[in-house]
């Protein structure tokens, strides 16, 4: 899980009273990522503190491109990454930031790291990719779904362009290159996520990660409660002085 320090999110709106959280969930295949993200949202949310999901293509950029048969236009990997970044800018502006500011927990799936891994596998430098996504707010935690690069290499990868971002890109890029191997590219992206995990910049989604996220939540609740109590005491003392 990311060691990224939680940024003090902007003041929560009146009545919400809680700090928002942003959890990045990374994965290289759309359907399992979506499934895991929904489970995570259900697990983290409650009636009082709802959680939400920020998905890929909230801006409909890629839907629009699919309608216009983008495959025939042969976009380059760099163009596809720039388009993803524009979609993420849309998500940050319209989904993530407002929800976090309102005190919600937001699961962003995918967020930045799956795309950095994918971009790197396609020949872009990590530096370029990291700088490109520097506009995205740092998440409180980064988790990845369980994926094994060996398995992907062994079994290959069957997908539909509509399944997710990597699927969309691989379908477009395969149309422009005979030698393009989607399974290899995906495996390399998984390898990047594994590397992050080794460096302790990312955690694997599982019971342990969930337990830790809930523990963090509880801790924060207690802190908030303690802060609120001390504020009340302060107010009472002030009132006594005035009297």
């Amino acid at each position: 899980m990311a060691k990224a320090k939680r940024k003090k999110s902007a003041a929560p709106e009146a009545g919400m009273g809680r700090k928002g959280r942003l959890i990045a969930l990374e994965g290289t295949s759309g359907p399992p990522l979506e499934e895991a993200a929904l489970k995570l949202v259900r697990s983290l949310g409650s009636d009082k503190n709802p959680a939400g999901l920020s998905r890929f293509d909230a801006s409909n950029t890629f839907y629009d491109l699919r309608l216009r048969k983008v495959k025939t236009m042969n976009p380059s990997p760099r163009e596809l990454i720039l388009l993803y970044a524009s979609d993420l800018a849309f998500r940050v502006r319209w989904e993530i930031t407002p929800a976090v500011q309102a005190g919600m927990c937001v699961v962003a799936a995918p967020y930045v790291h799956s795309i950095i891994g994918f971009g790197e596998a396609l020949g872009m430098t990590r530096r370029w990719l990291t700088d490109l996504f520097s506009f995205a707010p740092e998440p409180e935690a980064v988790l990845r779904i369980k994926e094994k690069k060996k398995k992907i290499r062994k079994k290959g990868w069957r997908f539909k362009a509509a399944d997710g971002y990597l699927e969309f890109c691989c379908a477009s890029l395969a149309a422009g290159s005979k030698d393009f191997q989607p399974a290899e590219i995906r495996a390399a992206a998984v390898a990047y996520l594994q590397e992050l995990e080794k460096e302790e910049r990312c955690g694997k989604l599982g019971k342990r990660a969930l337990r830790d996220l809930h523990a963090e939540d509880e801790e924060e609740k207690k802190e908030d409660q303690a802060e609120a109590d001390s504020d009340d005491e302060g107010d009472e003392e002030e009132e006594d002085d005035e009297e």
Partner: protein, 296 residues
């Protein structure tokens, strides 16, 4: 704050032979991960050779840039027809015109839904697509490419919208450096007057209403263009633009452009643009292969 889920788990105890197996498979993975780096560097060398050989045959890239109302389109047309009259084959490259991204930008501009970051990213994608499909093929074939606005348009406008220049430059990396950039320097007042004189006033984003929050497009434009001019002035120093005084008459400007062009110097591709060209050559080869096999 430390999140325990990120801590590495202790490795389970393993028998010696199991350890060996794991090491072997790890080596295999590493080899696969490197994805034939030797092959890639060979290809790069081949592309660098190609780029070197093409240097003499390649075309020349001239960019015309400046704020709205600086007269760059008029000068670009005059310059292109003069080049044609001199016997050159000329290709025009227009800003924000790619079939891939233009419809997306157009729809969002209409809905006034673009944030500065999103706008900058979409324009960078649009520019790159145009560069890959129009500018580079034309240059490779030896044509003169005259670009009506180049990436500096985005750099100036987006920096005027408050984005950092370093981040913006990174969007366009690796850069395709033009051989020559003509910058049409105009005062914000003149630019505002010229825009006000047009039948249609400036549009929402051209007027910078997304950041000025001024309802009157012309008033907003006047404020926005002064920021743009400032950014252009800074860029003109960094990128060594050829400055054209856009307050002068059309004839005088054209004469200055011709004179500057006649003293032109190429920016050697191998020195300035090898990265972007190697990238493009590799993709071009792949696409040609696919097209050939489809025909076959």
């Amino acid at each position: 704050m430390v999140y325990h889920a990120c801590l590495p788990r202790p490795l389970p105890l393993m028998a010696k032979d199991k350890k060996k197996d794991k090491k072997k498979s790890k080596k295999k993975d590493e080899q696969q991960d490197s994805g034939g780096a030797a092959g890639a560097s060979k290809a790069k060398k081949r592309f660098l050779n190609l780029i070197g050989k093409q240097e003499e045959k390649r075309g020349f890239l001239v960019a015309f840039d400046g704020p709205d109302g600086s007269g760059k389109t008029t000068q670009r047309k005059l310059f292109a027809s003069w080049l044609e009259s001199e016997g050159y084959e000329v290709a025009a490259a227009k800003w924000s015109s790619s079939p891939l991204v233009k419809p997306l930008i157009k729809a969002r501009k209409k809905a006034h839904s673009l944030s500065p970051e999103e706008f900058a990213l979409l324009q960078a994608a649009d520019f790159r697509y145009n560069m890959d499909t129009q500018i580079l093929p034309a240059l490779w074939d030896g044509k003169m490419v005259v670009a009506d606005q180049y990436l500096f348009t985005s750099l100036a406008r987006d920096a005027a919208r408050g984005l950092k220049l370093n981040w913006l430059l990174n969007l366009y990396a690796p850069l395709l450096w033009p051989d020559m950039v003509f910058y049409f320097a105009v005062s914000p007042e003149t630019s505002g007057k010229r825009i006000a004189g047009k039948k249609k006033g400036p549009k929402y984003y051209d007027a910078g209403q997304d950041i000025t929050n001024i309802e009157d497009p012309l008033e907003s434009y006047k404020q926005f263009v002064s920021r743009i001019v400032q950014e252009y002035e800074a860029l003109s120093v960094i990128f060594q633009f050829v400055k054209v005084d856009a307050e002068k008459t059309i004839y005088e400007q054209h004469r200055q452009i011709r004179q500057a062009y006649e003293k032109r110097e190429r920016r050697p591709w191998a020195e300035w643009n090898s990265e972007v060209l190697a990238d493009w050559l590799e993709r071009r080869e792949h696409i040609a292969e696919v097209q050939e096999s489809a025909r076959g």
